[in-house]
């Protein structure tokens, strides 16, 4: 089987690859969302900590 044939997916390329592409997007979003939330939260808490130290 050559690469072209593989990518062609027996004529269903648009359906198959859009499904796998969407799955990749959904999985990536699920990994990135908590990483971003964690960064934001830690930044917010660090700010609060600095403020508390300045005016105790």
């Amino acid at each position: 089987m050559n690469l072209n044939e593989f990518l062609h997916m027996g004529g269903y390329a648009a359906y198959v690859w859009s499904s796998y592409g969407l799955a990749a997007v959904v999985l990536a979003a699920n990994v990135l969302a908590p990483m971003r939330q964690r960064r934001r939260l830690l930044r917010r808490l660090a700010q609060r900590e600095r403020r508390a130290r300045r005016n105790p």
Binding site: Y15, V16, A23, N30, P34, R38, L41, L45
Partner: protein, 245 residues
Amino acid sequence: MKRFFHQLGSPKHFYRIAGRWIPWLGLACVLFLLAGLYQGLVVAPTDYQQGDSYRIMFVHVPAAWMSLFIYVVMAAAGAIGLIWHMKLAEVVAIASAPIGASFTFLALVTGSIWGKPMWGAWWVWDARLTSELILLFLYLGVIALHNAVEDKRTAARATSILAIVGVVNIPIIHYSVEWWNTLHQGPTVTKFDAPSIDMRMLIPLLLMAVAFKLFYATVLLMRARVEVLERERNTRWVRELVSQS
């Protein structure tokens, strides 16, 4: 063992232990995913009826299984949180909701993409599809309700009750292909006699299913860690952690 569970119940230890597990779970997930993709896209033969379009199954079916599995985990964790007032169960319940919603969305859209070439329609109002759509709305309802209530513990109680009530939808989805005449094909894997599916197709399906389960475990712990950090933001260990970073 008892000490292990007791420690896991304490937010501080959960945060530490989860942090240690995440990379290993993630690595295992990637390995299963690569094996499943190779087996599913390269090794598995072309279907004699559906051609290569059936390969959508390797993401569609595991995503649909996860949409049900995560809902049951969410409702069970919600119930444990309600009955035993276990904070960590509340965290698991609410952290599961967005992950479950995204898998439900994935199952619906990949099903739609598969339906177009096979049935000639992107969408039909059949029992399986409609009940899965209701599942998506249940997840979205849980998320919206949680965001609407300011106090975290009140929010957890309210969302747990909604999640538990929504469990009636789970058997409806599962048996929908048997109870009603639907366009959606019947079960091919979980039939009690020998599954009516070629081994070379079954193996990638199971590999992908394991990969998705590991994925859920990984991102659940990631989300739960953030939620624990936010809930515990006024405790000493979090303040120390923040000052160190």
